[in-house]
Symmetry: C2
Subunit: 718 residues, 2 copies
Amino acid sequence: MEEMEDRRRVGYHIHRDVMGEIEVDSVAQKSEVNTSLLDKFKESMRCSGPRAKSCFLSSVPLLFWLPRYPFKENVFGDLVSGISVGIMHLPQGMAYALLAAVPPVFGLYSSFYPILIYFIFGTSKHISVGTYAVMSVMIGSVTERLAPDSEFIVWTNNSNESFIDTAAQINKRIAIAAAVTFLSGIFQLLLGLVQFGFVVTYLSEPLVRGYTTGAAIHVMVSQLKYMFGINPQRYNGPLSLIYTVLDVCSLLGGTNIGTLVVSIVTIVCLVSAKEVNSLLARKLPVPIPVELITIIIATAVSWRFDFKTLYEVEVVGEIPSGLQPPVLPDFSLMGTMVGDAFALAVVGYGIAISLGRTFALKYGYKVDSNQELIALGLCNSVGGMFQCFAISCSMSRTMVQISTGGKTQIAGALSAVVMLVILLWIGSLFEELPKAVLAVIINVNLQGMFKQFSDVSGLWRTNKVDMLVWLMTFILTVLLNPDVGLAASIAFSILTVIFRTQLPKYSLLGQVPGTDIYRPVEDYNQVVQIPGLVIFRSSATLYFANAEMYADHLYEKSGVDITKLLVHKKKLEAKRLRKEKKEQKKAKKEAKKRAVEMLEAPELSDKEEKLAVAIVAEPELDPCCDSGLPKAIILDLSPVNFLDTVGLKTLRDIHRDYGDAGVKVLLSGCQSCVIENLEKGGFFNDKVTKAVLFSTVHDAVLHCQQGDTKEAMKGTHF
Amino acid sequence: MEEMEDRRRVGYHIHRDVMGEIEVDSVAQKSEVNTSLLDKFKESMRCSGPRAKSCFLSSVPLLFWLPRYPFKENVFGDLVSGISVGIMHLPQGMAYALLAAVPPVFGLYSSFYPILIYFIFGTSKHISVGTYAVMSVMIGSVTERLAPDSEFIVWTNNSNESFIDTAAQINKRIAIAAAVTFLSGIFQLLLGLVQFGFVVTYLSEPLVRGYTTGAAIHVMVSQLKYMFGINPQRYNGPLSLIYTVLDVCSLLGGTNIGTLVVSIVTIVCLVSAKEVNSLLARKLPVPIPVELITIIIATAVSWRFDFKTLYEVEVVGEIPSGLQPPVLPDFSLMGTMVGDAFALAVVGYGIAISLGRTFALKYGYKVDSNQELIALGLCNSVGGMFQCFAISCSMSRTMVQISTGGKTQIAGALSAVVMLVILLWIGSLFEELPKAVLAVIINVNLQGMFKQFSDVSGLWRTNKVDMLVWLMTFILTVLLNPDVGLAASIAFSILTVIFRTQLPKYSLLGQVPGTDIYRPVEDYNQVVQIPGLVIFRSSATLYFANAEMYADHLYEKSGVDITKLLVHKKKLEAKRLRKEKKEQKKAKKEAKKRAVEMLEAPELSDKEEKLAVAIVAEPELDPCCDSGLPKAIILDLSPVNFLDTVGLKTLRDIHRDYGDAGVKVLLSGCQSCVIENLEKGGFFNDKVTKAVLFSTVHDAVLHCQQGDTKEAMKGTHF
């Protein structure tokens, strides 16, 4: 017992000593928090004097790493890797241009300019930036929404027939894609400059995987028309995917047989070639560029047998050679695409940074998240001026870049050189390539994304709430389209934090015998509840969404219904008042009687009389004893992260209600920020001092037991 | 030292014993959680057999409390209170009907039917249900959106003039108000039946107060036209309040002088009468019904001097006597008002339950939140059939009901009787009452709500995040209107949970000397960091929004940059490989040399040679020693409420990265739900066993120190 008390005293003193300091520290800390953002901003702006050089170097990483490039060691790997990736860019760029609903050559541009810029400004050595299916389909939804077929219908003068002015529509779509890309780049630049790289933390892994899977469905559906050679109506807004699928199904009767044959043959060839590739993966130094071979053969066959005119197979069409001068994007379009551009900025960055980080960790270097934002922002804003569409980085190309020995951004730069060669001299050779082949390439490449469906069963076992996030993100993305779906998914994933903390587990704690450890009595059968004390803990933080439940469960678990208690107290008081009145009346009567009896009965001594009164009065004066109340309630607040007004009010109410009933309420395990919240919220006053705070549950228990001892000692004195 | 070890052992054993049980318990607990909602639902549906009676009693509380009504004690208070509140209902009902944009008599209906129904089904004894300004203005926004002036313009045949078909418009508006009321009642009933009373927890106090203040602005602005006698254009959608104010300002030139004079006189009289009332509050048993007196005088004066025709003052108009038969609401309208009806349901319930709870706590009884939902749902759905508009409860009437001695729902029933008398015989007397008087009554009554502005300064001192919730709710409500504003505010208040936990405080913990208490070293200057150990704690739970920061801060605080470490390790390995190659070459050379030198130098003993090699090799073989790594990292997870996939992955990465570098990572203070998350998430495997879990930080520290002792002992053995 002595040892225990000693232990307690030490704990308590420390706790009291420390209180004064917290205030000082907390003020210092707070001002730090308030200014840190500003400081960061200033820091990022204030690049003058001696720091200018390092600041400049950090914003143009190329200048830092290129002079130190270990030429002999890396150059061969980078060369092979660069050429392999460059070859991949050709079919992917053209295919993803279909997704974005612009002519294929713009996919080639998008695989050239942004890569050069990333080479200069990027910090990841391994990711292959460039066209990406999800981004392309997002662009596609913007271009198709803002330049629908209905706007370009031209009525012929003579008859009632109409046709769509395809040339005007394509020009509009190119302008739209460039504008939204430029705007998303500006968003990324701005976010990077104010060091808001952390926004990506809202894109948790289950969300990103659910999102990309949902987007893959959109990608697949948008390619069906090319694979079947049909022309379904365009739909926009929520559920447009469903309408499109229904429309495609109803149009299947009008399938272009030539196109369908091309699709089927390509699928069979591509899938089997990929299988061979993966079987031989270990033996080959460089994977076979199956997609390149596919488009070369398909172009040759299509040209030789004139698919276009004989079978009405839709082909890629004109691919102009050479590059085009930059033009400023059409600013007048931007008002209607702010949301889309922001979604593109966040998604593009989210995909790139998560891939970049993965490989940075694997190969032991650092990716600067804000510099990445700036690099991607420059890629997209400059790219937008060269009529590229928004880029991110592709998992498949990145894997090839790494597996073929790519070690630095040089590989990326070399792949851009390959693209330049293609753009200048080779591109126009592919004019006879059937679009169906590109659509098949896209859909076969999607298989990796569809493999993500297996996440669901994994998450079902490991974390059901995260599975819910995955599924909801998937469903929302499929139903509401990638742009609105992303916002809705992020909102939902934030809401899960509420779900997870709204229904916490409430427990009474008991002591592990012989230790100062307290554990929930329902989890552990060896722990012992301390008689006369209620030790209560919620597994989650205490805030508006669960504050009411906290109080309810405390009342329930402690077996003390505070409402009944107060009613009981009131009744007792009323009873006492009535009794007092009665007794006053009685007293008058008795006074007379006594005068008579005085002579008969022997008088009680003063002390004896007091004792008797005490015995009679006790059960009524002390409501604790007769309603089986605990002596004290100890609230273990160690899982509490913060206290909002509602949580604070709940604690105050608990303290007041039990206090009224004569039960002490002690708080233990508060973190310093919680104590700060209590202080600022006015929890402490003349009546409630900081003496109710204890370092640990054990300290509070010892305090109560010490109190008992004192009272017991008082008792013996009396 | 012996004592410490002993202490540790006890703690450790308990921890290990307990693990097995957790699994069993957790399964039981989980299935309980999954079924509890269903059970509740079944329970609420399954009212048969012996429980039927109590179930019936609990759903019709009247049957429970009326037979036990203490007639003698309560009847007088309830009578006075009922009449006082009934008298208040008259002006408020008529005034709030203006807000709802329906004729005044429907405000009187709304102050009659719902009150009778609440008398039967309600559980709060003190709240005065009936018309409420915020609800009325929400109804008004629906009626005005769905029945705008533009729909009822009738062009006269002869000229180009047009007029608005007021009669048709009013009929449409009445139908709309009744339909939305009916639908909101159905929502409340449904929520009550599935026991979803807890939805109201999302309406935290700062949110409700910010919301009612914002709604008060809408109420005030909507009354300006009656006070000035002008007719501004109707606006809908976001920012409509701003447009309305601008329109009112531009129309001020056309103010009706008669109406303005009536308004000013009424304001002066009402405000001074209210002041007198509050001064005399203590002396009077019943407050003076200033509003009733005001409308009586105003009606008399308006009738006597014929304001309507002489000064073109707009008056209340026809008030039909008697009651109307119920009609089914127009179901065809309901598709367009689902959102509004849901907002009405939530707001109405939120206001009523928070007032009800406040007084229940004060007077020591219980308000059943689900029964309240059902009661309000019946009030509104039945009320909707009698063409009432949605009701809630009003603070001002409730205060009067209590201060005049109302003790039970009987007071409410009596106030309904007063309303019945008014409806049957007196109502039509008020036809000449100027609408401006009602508008003034509304605006003067709003002063209580505008007093809530002082919340902001209070919250600024106590809790800045809650102040932000208040302000954002206010701004969103003002700008986006009460319906959309409510949804946006709830979303924002949920987002604040993220704000509060996204930027936690990360600390290294040190030991309070001589105790088993560990505290942040930056907060307390007496604590001592344990050499060779890093004890790390985040003040908030670990989840997707802060998981990355957790790892970053751990690396920073522990002084161990894991990226550099891995790079360093790789370099060391490469160096070793190079050295090995060199040495192999050297060895060949030396073998020759040695054969020569053999005869000259004295040979080292085998043991001496080993030692020398060890001395040379040591600094390179053990990266821990030369990079100043800690021996172990202890993560105090006691503030963690739950682990999601991202948090788990972070812990796994930390464990793996530091493990690779030879640093042990121990977890302490995990709650059982966190351990469950770790288990299910596959954190534990052959390499990572549950031995990394410790009850408290101290246990983990003792474990590490024990390890040291063992190693030291090993050392001595060698």
